[in-house]
């Protein structure tokens, strides 16, 4: 067997995220151009593989077999892989795992991983119907579980009751992420700011969540290049960012299969994280910067716990201590995360990968000093599956 190669992320870019007057394929093209701006000289002919991650293409855009549509619009002619991938909110993060395996095995050399969603079509209210189909339609959805806030509100209440987490501590997450994300011009809420007072006095979405505890549902696309170390060196002079380890763990599709003692424990994330750390040859202490799935403020708090950045139950005081800010123990969601940059489901994982790539290359907008190891995480469904990728400036030796 041929010797295993190393896979790296070369760079990437996103379209403008938000409520967009554009089709899903329009936005994929915008993301591809942003990716090429980040990797000067990148041409369609350099790319031998394509993975497009999307969930809503088909329901909100008539684009079910999405990969050939992207091939045509981007002028690609893939020879190694050409697929659509759907794991809802973890779509393009899952695609990174697939791309890593294909590059390391020598099957592919240069893969474009792109994620995209167009949700607000044809009418805005219809997204609430579609949400019934992305959960377990015949069971939890038929109970009325559609948009996520009510479910995550129950998670927050249980975490508050069991561990004493407060609304103020949750507000620290949204304020920190706004401090980061206000400088992201392509973010859904780029340019906006948030104070603690505004966060705590916002209108209630689902008790205990105010408006700023919840991420928006966004239209948008992102694109990154995953390549072999050899090809990456030819494409860029920047430091290489290696894909060191991955983990993906799913336990159920509907509530009866929830693996925790209560909703405040996410043991399936712990397993995904430990798997990724083991494959990366690292521990949580080694990670310098993280992009975790902050669909709600409570999510980021629980993720910091289950990923081992603080003790279980101490996520609230941890975020309030400034640990997730620049200079803190684990700067998190340094581009604004889902809360501010926005959340076009399939596009979010690649958006996180772009930020970690920039951090480890020393060129992020909110740079973590000497960042050597980074982590991305997505949850998907009703917190049914967890996807973790660990990056580093050196490959696993």
């Amino acid at each position: 067997m041929a010797q295993k190669k190393n896979a790296v992320i070369v760079g990437g870019g996103t379209s403008k995220f938000g409520v967009r007057q554009a089709t899903i394929l329009d936005m994929v093209q915008e993301a591809a151009v942003a990716c090429a701006e980040d990797i000067p000289g990148l041409k369609p002919a350099d790319i031998d593989g394509l993975i497009i991650a999307t969930t809503m293409a088909g329901r909100h855009s008539s684009a079910l077999n999405t990969a050939p549509l992207v091939v045509h619009r981007l002028g690609l002619s893939p020879t190694s892989i050409c697929i659509r991938l759907d794991t809802l909110c973890a779509g393009s993060n899952s695609a990174v795992i697939v791309a890593k395996g294909l590059v390391e095995s020598g099957i592919a050399e240069v893969i474009l991983v792109t994620g995209a969603e167009k949700v607000y079509l044809p009418q805005r209210w219809e997204t609430n119907y579609t949400q019934l189909a992305v959960n377990d339609h015949d069971w939890d959805s038929a109970m009325g579980l559609g948009v996520p806030p009510p479910f995550f509100a129950m998670i927050a209440r249980m975490h508050m009751k069991k561990y004493g987490t407060t609304k103020e501590q949750m507000a620290h997450v949204s304020v920190t992420n706004y401090n980061y994300g206000t400088d992201s011009p392509k973010g859904h809420f780029g340019g906006r700011t948030l104070t603690m007072k505004e966060a705590l006095e916002a209108r209630i979405i689902a008790e205990p969540f105010g408006l700023y505890d919840c991420c928006p549902l966004s239209d948008g696309a992102s694109a990154i290049i995953i390549a072999s170390e050899e090809r990456a060196k030819a494409m860029t002079d920047r430091p290489l960012v290696y894909l060191r380890g991955t983990g993906q763990h799913a336990t159920h599709s509907m509530s009866a299969g929830w693996p925790g003692d209560t909703l405040a424990e996410w043991p399936h994330l712990k397993v995904a994280g430990e798997t990724a750390y083991k494959n990366a040859g690292l521990t949580p202490k080694d990670i310098d910067v993280a992009q975790t799935h902050d669909c709600f403020t409570i999510s980021e708090i629980i993720e910091l716990e289950e990923l081992g950045f603080c003790k279980k139950g101490e996520g609230g005081p941890f975020v309030a201590s400034g640990a997730i800010g620049i200079g803190g123990a684990i700067p998190t969601n340094t581009d604004g995360g889902l809360l501010v940059y926005g959340h076009p489901f399939g596009a979010s994982g690649a958006r996180q990968a772009i930020e970690i790539c920039k951090q480890l290359q020393g060129r992020a907008l909110h740079q973590v000093k000497d960042a050597a190891f980074g982590l991305t995480h997505n949850l998907s469904g009703t917190c049914a599956q967890h996807t973790v990728v660990v990056y580093g400036r050196e490959p696993v030796s």
């Binding site: 609430n128 069971w139 959805s141 038929a142 009325g144 009510p150 509907m254």
Partner: protein, 171 residues
């Protein structure tokens, strides 16, 4: 085309109030459309049931065609507990899926030690907002939901449907 012009309904006008299946919010319950139809027949009889594996004894929920533990097809129908305790509750006024009139009340339910169903997200009905509190007991209830047309060979038949939720136990 006068109906088209005057129809005062939300959504795609020419569907005249009915919706394509991908936007339907209830399961395809008819015997012709799925293999776990006894679950729905049992709902009509007021029973809350699921499948148990005759080979390994595992009780799955939702009911299945095979046992998820040992992949045996040798299954039987068993009854589930009909009373549960509310651990956490959430009441949605705005943003509930269409067809679920607000307040949409959902709860995280536990079924007690030794029961095959450990916990479940359940909708609460027959109660007002604020009426049910954490720690309260609720009970299973079944009810009719909108019927759905289905194509069986060359005929279109109406699929009558039921579903279930939980309601307060009257003290």
């Amino acid at each position: 085309m006068s109906d088209y012009e005057t129809a005062n309904i939300v959504g795609t006008p020419h569907l005249e109030g009915t919706y394509v299946s991908e936007m339907d919010m209830w399961p395809f319950e008819a015997q012709e459309l799925n293999r776990i139809y006894p679950f729905y027949d049992n709902l009509r009889a007021g029973r809350f049931t699921t499948t148990k594996c005759r080979d390994c004894g595992h009780i799955a929920f939702p009911p299945q065609v095979i046992c998820p533990k040992c992949w045996s097809e040798n299954l039987e129908w068993v009854d589930l507990p009909k009373k549960a305790k509310v651990v956490a509750i959430t009441e949605t006024q705005a943003g509930a899926p269409l067809g679920f009139p607000p307040p949409l009340i959902m709860a995280w339910l536990t079924f007690g030690e030794g029961t095959p169903l450990k916990h479940l997200l359940g909708r609460l009905v027959n109660c007002k907002e604020g009426e049910v509190k954490e720690g309260d007991e609720v009970q299973f209830v079944s009810f009719e939901v909108p019927a759905h047309p289905m194509e069986i060979k060359r005929d279109v038949k109406e699929c009558k449907r039921v579903y279930y939720a939980f309601e307060p136990v009257k003290k």
